[in-house]
Amino acid sequence: MVDQSEASPTDPGSDEPTKKKGRGWRRSLFIIIAILFTFVVYAFAFAKTDVSLDEVQSQTRQEQLFRILRALARPDLIRYDKEDLIVTADVQIPCTGTDPSPATPDESGATIAVNPSCSAPGESMTVNGSGFEAGKRVIVNFVPVSDYDIVLPQGRADVAEDGTFSLAFETPQRESEEPQQVVAITQTNVGSWRNRVSVWTDTNDNGVQDASDFPDSDEDLSTYALALPEFEVRDPGGVTLVDDNNNVLDFISWGGSFEARTGSGTGLVSRDIGLDPFDTSESQSLQQFGTGIDASDFEWTGPDDDSFGATNTNQEFVGSPASSGSFFNEVAFNETREIEIAGPPGSSLKGVSLIFFDATDGSQYKIIPIVDKTDLSPRLSDNALSTWDRIIETVMLALLATTVGTFLAVPLSFLAAKNLMRDVTVPVINLSLSVIAIPIGLVLGVRASQWARDISEFTDANIVTLVLGLLALTGITWLILRWTFPPEDADKPPLGTRLLRVAALIVVAFIALIMSYLTSDLLVSLGEGFEDLVPTVGFLGNFVVKLGEIALLGIPVFSAIIGAFALAAAASKFGYVLFQRLSRGVLNAATLITSAVAGAVVGMAIGGIIDWFYQLENPTATVLIPAIIGALIGMLLSVKALRKGESQNIGLTVYYLSRTLFNGLRSIEPLVMVIIFVVWVGIGPFAGALALALHTTAALAKLYSEQVESINTGPLEAVTATGATRLQTVIFAVVPQIIPPYISFTMYRWDINVRMSTIIGFAGGGGIGFLLQQNINLLQYRAAAAQMLAIAIVVASMDYLSSRIRERIV
């Protein structure tokens, strides 16, 4: 008070004005220094961040930027199948005196002329087109003579009203004796949104668009080749050619003839090739040779140079083909795994399939349709479909992470709430005994779970036994619980009864363990059964199986924790009995000893952790020394506690420990956490979900605990005053108050997790980020744009949805 009045400006004094003046000076000086300092800091920041205006203004950089921005503005969502109109003209570089052949006009009359038709490399050429569709864009490419499929784009031009275009280009540095080609291409979208058109697609994923018919041919039969690069062909084996009425058109085999035992070819005997189709080097194949129209007219030879998609060497198709006269004409099971069939030119391939057989038992194992479905154009592009898949994955990943995180965070949040933990105090001896009991409880818990597992094996995972066992055990548990927990908590029962009840509770806990195992087994069995029964929604069954498996993994852990808690509680109770029965001196001595032991236990635990991390493998350093130090510290603390008072505030310790842990975990971004989880469970959404779940747990536990801290304490006091236990108080007075903020925070967190999960794929955590990163790295900006659009839509709608739900609840 006194200091304040002296320094206050209301104090009248003669030196007041000079003081003010001096302060003004100092103030100005301070401002100047502050400005200078700010200037230096920003200058340093500019230097560190490489602010470069040259790059910003550079022509090429700008062009790249614009290209990307334009690509981003056209997300790859819709696929039009296109029809190409291609006109080719020969050119000569350099001139050799021979005149290159002029372009053959397209059916529509479109044609091009190159002027001059020969020149030295680097000189100018002009392409003049006519008869093109007005308004179309023409792409002009130069196709040099090369062993590879090289196309050099030369530019684009727009077709004028009269159907002509003209484009000048510089001839590339590609010299050749032979004529090279200038190609003009215009593309027309097939179909429109008003009038969608059916197109054939590549159903067998051989990289070639499926044909709907055998190609036209001058000969009496034509051929169609099919590559199956990823497909595993069994040896010995066979394959039938089946039309859409399931008639077997041809049946060949390798490694010997056999009889088909399954499928539409049942009872048929294969026509053995007699040669080994696996023994073909690259670009070689086994082929039919001879003259005729039917499979029986030809003979298998080879290996020879392959001729997939064309008539074989030494083969002539002569005769009038039967409408169903298709047969295998060429085969090679080298790296490319190609099969060629021959059939009447122009006849439909729709519904025709290859069925592969295993010769060892005559059973079919794979049906490959050559053409089995049509698609519409325009339609959603493959990129749009995979974006859809991934965005669903992303949302589900976020949902799972939020759910798991919430479940873990709710109980933890109570530990980190100061107002609940502040009053939790226990006498030192209780604390020490509990600490000693924890490791014993952990071991007993794990043991108990093992015994329970052994006992639960009697069912043999048979659903009926499982259900009966569960029902019987539920009955027993119910009876025991009825007896141990009378609905009204009367006055203290005699010691004998209480001991009996404790024993009964232990039995019930053990039965509950067995029941947990039975339930898990039941879940697995039911899930597997369901998966087999209804394969279309097999993921539901799989989910049940996974739940069961998670439970099986979790039971020992859970049992260990429960064991530790139960034993610690029992030890604490025992401590209380000692506390009341023993005389002061004996109690102090007992406290000292138990504290020393407890300290040693904690010391050894810390030593064990250190040993695990640093692999010291030195028992003196990791067991003995920590134990001794721990014992000493334990004794010192207990002496201090005994002198000060009788109770130790364990609640605040737990509060600070959990707070520190949550803050530590929260400060690590999930993007970093996922790296560790990827190492553990592999790249994919599971790793991402785990990382997000861990971060969510820490973040929500903190947010929740702050909500618990800000509740109205009145009801808490009132419920405590009725004689409720701490747990009852929490359930009746705390939980109702925190439900709305908890739901609100959970929704908000889901919102955050959806946003997070869109980028968690960058670090290998699955979701749409994986696809996005891939497309950016491959410079496929139009595809990436689709993913960005999807993220924007999902995040915006999640944001809207969660705020609406929060409004409703709070």
């Binding site: 908590d489 203290k492 009145g714 009132a718 009725t722 004689g723 236990t725 747990l727 009746f732």
Partner: protein, 250 residues
């Protein structure tokens, strides 16, 4: 009989709320506790059921030492001491019936109450208590839908669920208007006279003290400054308790 001996409470921040307070309350008595705000009335009442741990001194109830009771014993003691609060202290988001049933938490088995299960007899009892305070129709309304007077009646019903032998009332009518104040006080009087429950009630208004209390104790700065019948409080006594500048109102 409730016996308070040399009760002292010093808070962690050094404030001495109670200083060597001793008094006795007979079974079935209505005791008013008066004093200025901050004189230690609330602390005194909360020490009796150990919502606040006394620093020293003993509280004995029918020969049982409350101050040294273990957690388990304390639970059994608390369930026979009902308490009514100035701000009602209802769980406002819960239903009225749930708030009333909370009064049985000291009796029901802890394991069962965790899953919000109460015996049928308790639920019937809750309805009966609500009927007694005239709120039976509001049993399934949310507590925050009720007016202040109604909320305090729910508070009384909750306390009555405990079958209390002592009722602690911490300024039960301070947040209510005079008409409602009398209605609540009449409930306490009813409980005191019909059920023979010992009532310890801290009050602000002397007319309420005159009307309802059998005996009065007065606290000033944590010390007991008066103990006697309500009519013994004359102007001199009044100024002694409330300070020189105080004026009697009401």
């Amino acid at each position: 009989m409730l016996k308070v001996e040399n009760l002292t409470k010093i808070y962690d921040n050094g404030i001495q709320a109670l200083h060597d307070v001793s008094f006795e309350v007979e079974k079935g008595e209505f005791l008013a506790v008066i004093g200025l705000s901050g004189s230690g009335k609330s602390t005194l009442l909360r020490c009796i059921n150990r919502l606040i741990e006394p620093t020293s001194g003993t509280i004995t109830w029918d020969g049982v030492d409350v101050t040294n009771a273990s957690q388990e014993e304390l639970r059994r003691i608390r369930r026979r001491i009902g308490m009514v609060f100035q701000h009602f202290n209802l769980v406002t988001r819960s239903k009225v019936i749930t708030n009333v049933l909370a009064g049985r938490l000291g009796y029901v088995n802890p394991a069962l109450a965790v899953v919000n299960r109460f015996p049928k007899s308790d639920i019937d009892k809750a309805h009966a208590q609500l009927a007694r305070v005239g709120l039976e129709s509001k049993a399934y309304a949310r507590a925050d839908e009720l007016s202040g007077g109604q909320q305090q009646r729910v508070g009384v019903a909750r306390a009555m669920m405990q079958d209390p032998e002592i009722m602690l009332a911490d300024e039960p009518v301070a947040s209510l208007d005079p008409v409602l104040a009398h209605s609540i006080m009449r409930y306490l009087e009813l409980i005191n006279q019909e059920d023979g429950v010992m009532v310890l009630c801290s009050l602000h208004f002397l007319d309420l003290v005159h009307q309802y209390a059998d005996r009065v104790i007065a606290l000033k700065d944590g010390e007991l400054v008066f103990e006697g019948a309500p009519h013994e409080i004359d102007d001199d006594r009044f100024k002694e308790i409330y300070g020189r500048e105080a004026e009697r109102v009401g």
